[in-house]
Amino acid sequence: MLSIKNLTASINGTPVLKGIDLDIKAGEIHAIMGPNGSGKSTLGKVLAGHPAYEVTGGEVLFEGRDLFSLAADERARAGLFMGFQHPIEVPGVSNSSFLRLAYNKKAEAEGRDELDPLEFDDFIHEKIKLVAMREEFLDRSLNEGFSGGEKKRNEILQMAVLEPKLAILDELDSGLDIDALRVLGDAVNRLQRADRALLIITHFPRILETIQPHHVHVLSGGRILKSAGKELALELEERGYDWVLEASAAGGAR
């Protein structure tokens, strides 16, 4: 589904990603962990097409296509989704109108029928149940005045509406209370299918108990220093990152 080869990228002339290799196949769940500032969000934004980041080298194929030949909106319509670590507030644009617009843009791109407001109403009511969101949030402006956790819930609602092939979820768990974490973890699991894939960026193993990854990667200093199975998450929780960094410096962590 996604194949990243020796990806390097910088922001404002500062290199942040320094050679990332990663392969994600359909049906797989990957997790990326790593210290603050190591480049996790940068990787997500580069993949999603944020214009401020400059790709300086490497190659990324998404479903066999050169990802970087697509603009951000084209990537979204092709089935890539990023749940933001810090979702943006957009006053004046109602949440439900925005969701319908995004849905219809994607439907149009896929040659499916667009939904009129009434049809969308039925559709969205199923989706808000999935993420246990109260109806009033549909009428409010997009993310405006939402609490941190409410914004994250809204990100997963958008994911449920768009049903992406590949979802990159950047710190979904930060700011969520324990119940919300379980609800949204379950929702993400229910959206996962054999022809879809997930990339979970997190600092905490707890979310990985619900959304169980097949692979866990440690990203530090713009490189993936270690990759292993889901047990790595707990080991990191116990031992921190130093041992990975040291082993990597000694040339043995991989």
Binding site: A48, G49, H50, P51, A52, A71, A72, D73, R75, A76, R77, F81, M82, F84, P87, I88, V90, P91, G92, V93, S94, S97, F98, R100, L101, A102, N104, K105, K106, A109, S141, L142, Q158, L162
Partner: protein
């Protein structure tokens, strides 16, 4: 009448016509002040960004009566509570006050002169602006609204000023609103027109103790029009005056809202202007905290495209002794082109020490992070820009309480921001 000595042809022409008979002392006082005065120039500090040369070059004359089909302007909530004025003259057949509750007077000034001894008595202590005096000297008609003590009027009232100019004309809409203590009212004031004309409305508001007025002001003058409006509101103790001025039309518009807050009163002066081409929209507001513990809010937003220009000067005065004042002012401006221009300035004069005054001004383009967020959900760059521009304006519109007005303005804003094709009637 009159041998006015004024330098500008505009004033000579406008004042050479007959003077309406009523309110002689108001008119004489205004004419007296106008004598020897001329149009302000860009050398006057308050007018330095707004050049009136184009206005002075047009030979405006007093407006003849005209008839206009008003069906397009009717609003369902207010079919029985409307007064319509065409070219400054009352249009009895277009008006309908059948649903106005008993006790409320909602009449043309021309039929209610005995009720209007208060006309011209809302005074802000400074010499009236020239355009206010022009109105006082020459207004033909207007509306008076009187709401008795403790009456809460359920239906909004609709004031519709239409101008139809085949040749350049000048109109002087006049409004007096008096709410006795404890009264409540919602008022929608609209200005629409066609052709080249000068409109100088003056609205006087007097609110008794605890009275509440919500005042929506819609300026959709013709693209060739000049609109120079004055609003003066005196708010009694614990009264509330909330106004929102929504400016879309006119080649040149200038608003002079002035609000005086007594003890514990609350005042809102919100504004939204959508400007394109060569339009100029200038707001010089004055929020006067005359007594303690009053609260004021001002949110002024402009979307400026083409070679248009927006000016905002927000004066806030906290009088000596007006302790416990809480005054907020925000000016937020969105520039959509390289040639658009905004000049915004707060002007705080604080003569008390226990006060909270906050102000902020922002002039900028759309936020790239917001654009990326929308694009990451599959909206193309143009759609994302249009949606954010719409949202910037809709943020103000969504607070308009009368549904049909809100809907009409949203549609207008959607069309103007190219967001209509997105089909997101929020």
């Amino acid at each position: 009448m009159t041998s006015m000595v004024v330098g500008s042809n505009l004033l000579v022409d406008l004042l050479s016509g007959p003077r309406p008979a009523e309110w002689a002392s108001l008119r004489e006082a205004a004419e007296g002040r106008l004598e020897g005065r001329d149009l302000p120039t860009t050398k006057d500090e308050a007018w330095k960004y707004t050049d009136l040369k184009a206005l002075a070059a047009i030979p405006f004359v007093a407006a003849p009566r005209a008839t206009v089909d008003i069906s397009a302007y009717l609003l369902p909530e207010m079919v029985g509570t409307r007064q319509v004025f065409v070219n400054g003259h009352h249009a009895p057949h277009a008006s309908c006050a059948s649903a106005v509750p008993a006790g409320v007077r909602f009449l043309p000034l021309s039929t209610a002169s005995e009720a209007c001894h208060a006309l011209g008595t809302v005074k802000n202590g400074v010499t009236p602006e020239l355009f206010e005096d022009l109105n006082s000297a020459r207004f033909e008609d207007g509306a008076v609204i009187l709401v008795p003590k403790n009456l809460k009027v359920a239906l909004p009232l609709h004031l519709l000023f239409l101008t139809k100019a085949d040749t350049p004309i000048a109109v002087f809409p006049r409004v007096l609103v008096v709410l006795e203590p404890g009264a409540e009212l919602e008022l929608v004031e609209e200005h629409h027109g066609e052709g080249t004309y000068l409109s100088c409305p003056v609205v006087e508001v007097r609110l008794g103790e605890g009275a509440i007025l919500r005042h929506e002001r819609v300026q959709r003058e013709s693209p060739e029009a000049f609109h120079l409006g004055t609003l003066k509101a005196e708010v009694g103790r614990h009264g509330q005056y909330h106004s929102r001025t929504l400016s879309f039309g006119a080649r040149f518009s200038r608003q002079h809202p002035w609000v005086r807050l007594a003890e514990g009163a609350e005042g809102t002066l919100d504004g939204l202007a959508l400007l394109d081409d060569q339009q100029v929209a200038d707001t010089h507001s004055f929020m006067h905290h005359a007594e303690p513990n009053a609260v004021s809010h001002q949110l002024h937003k402009c979307i400026v495209d083409g070679k248009a220009r927006a000016i905002f000067n927000g004066q806030v005065r906290v009088a000596p002794g007006a302790q416990g004042t809480d005054a907020k002012q925000q000016s937020r401006n969105l520039l959509l082109s390289e040639t658009a221009r905004v000049d915004t300035k707060p002007q705080l004069e604080i003569y008390a020490d226990d006060v909270k005054c906050s102000h902020g001004a922002a002039v900028g383009q759309l936020d790239p992070e917001e654009l990326f967020y929308l694009e990451s959900r599959g909206l193309n760059a143009d759609d994302a820009r249009n949606l954010l521009t719409y949202g910037f304006a809709a943020d103000v519109l969504q607070r308009v309480p009368v549904a049909s007005v809100r809907r009409a303005l949203r549609q207008l804003v959607m069309a103007r921001t190219q967001a209509a094709s997105l089909g997101v009637l929020a």
